[in-house]
């Protein structure tokens, strides 16, 4: 071992508690960075309703509909006419609901919708 390594080891031995704290902080920092990057990259952030700016979304009436009450199909059992019609009865209402509702529809970010368009009449209206 070199002289410098010996010096470093003796320094650490002298300040064991401080070294422990520093290592703990470094480990916590690394885990926080990894956790946050996973939180962002996995898409969890997009369904986290406790983020700033989204307060109240979870509490709004009918805003969040749970799928807990939806009936599930069993992966076990025999295949028969009955089991296939059971599957159909489970999936059909969902298929029908797809055509009834439009999601992410409309164009709320169009310049006209936000009042950012350059039309003369809209500008005059804004001036009035």
């Amino acid at each position: 071992m070199t002289k410098q390594t010996n010096k470093f080891i003796s320094f650490v031995m002298k300040h064991q508690l401080t070294a422990l704290l520093v290592i703990a902080v470094i480990i916590a920092f690394v885990f926080t960075v990894v956790g946050l990057s996973l939180y962002r990259s996995s898409g969890t952030a997009q369904v986290d309703l406790s983020r700033p700016g989204l307060e109240g979304v979870a509490g709004e009436e009918d805003s969040i509909q749970s799928t807990k009450n939806f009936a599930e199909y069993s992966a076990n059992g025999t295949v028969s006419e009955q089991s296939l019609s059971e599957f159909e009865s489970l999936i059909k209402p969902h298929i029908e609901s797809l055509s009834k509702l439009v999601f992410f529809g409309g164009d709320p970010l169009a310049p006209e919708s936000l009042g950012l368009d350059d039309r003369e009449e809209s500008f005059e209206q804004a001036e009035e």
Binding site: G43, Q65, T78, V79, F104, D107, G115, L116
Partner: protein, 185 residues
């Protein structure tokens, strides 16, 4: 040797300067596309536009959560379960499995595109539209394009669910036909 190094340095500095000049002129050109009247209009509508963005963020987030849960449910609690049950009973369900795989892929793309859209929406909300009306307008346009992609992904997923169902209906008809044939024999 020194001359070569000097020449290389001069070329490098000139290239960097040209790059900056090009970027600057492009930015100026983009900015000049907007008339003063249009910029004024953006600044005037800025506060209400930001409020609309905040509202849209909230409604789209709840829609994302609802749709995400719904699509996850369809994929894992219905499609995958049926595929698994057919496989356990050694019944060929390759068409259904392929469609489920396409569905899972589309669902992943939906998550990714929504993330990109949401990040763009947040970035747009953070632009100071009073001092940078042109930048704000351009960021709104980017968010609008991202939202259109999300809309397209939702349409793709809905189409795949319908296609899965059609394959299931065909499968069921074939199964009924085959089982009736077995009974007749």
């Amino acid at each position: 040797m020194m001359k070569k190094i000097t020449l290389a340095l001069v070329v490098f500095v000139a290239a960097v300067a040209a790059g900056f000049a090009f970027a600057g002129s492009a930015s100026a050109q983009q900015s000049s596309v907007f008339s003063e009247r249009h910029k004024l209009r953006i600044v005037e509508s800025c506060t209400s536009a930001k409020a609309s963005l905040a509202r849209l963020h909230k409604t789209d987030t709840s829609m994302r959560v609802n749709r995400g849960q719904f699509y996850e449910f369809i994929g894992s609690k219905l499609m995958a379960r049926l595929n698994s049950r057919l496989a356990i009973n050694k019944i060929d369900s390759s068409k259904l499995i392929v469609k489920t795989s396409e569905y899972e892929q589309a669902l992943g793309e939906f998550r990714d595109t929504y993330r990109a859209y949401e990040e763009q929406l947040v970035a747009t909300s953070q632009v100071d539209c009073h001092s940078n009306p042109v930048e704000f307008y351009q960021e709104v346009a980017k968010a609008r394009a991202s939202r259109a992609v999300v809309q397209q992904k939702v349409a793709d997923i809905n189409r795949l669910i319908n296609e899965y169902y059609q394959i299931f209906v065909e499968f069921r008809a074939e199964y009924t036909k085959a089982s009736q044939g077995v009974r007749l024999d």
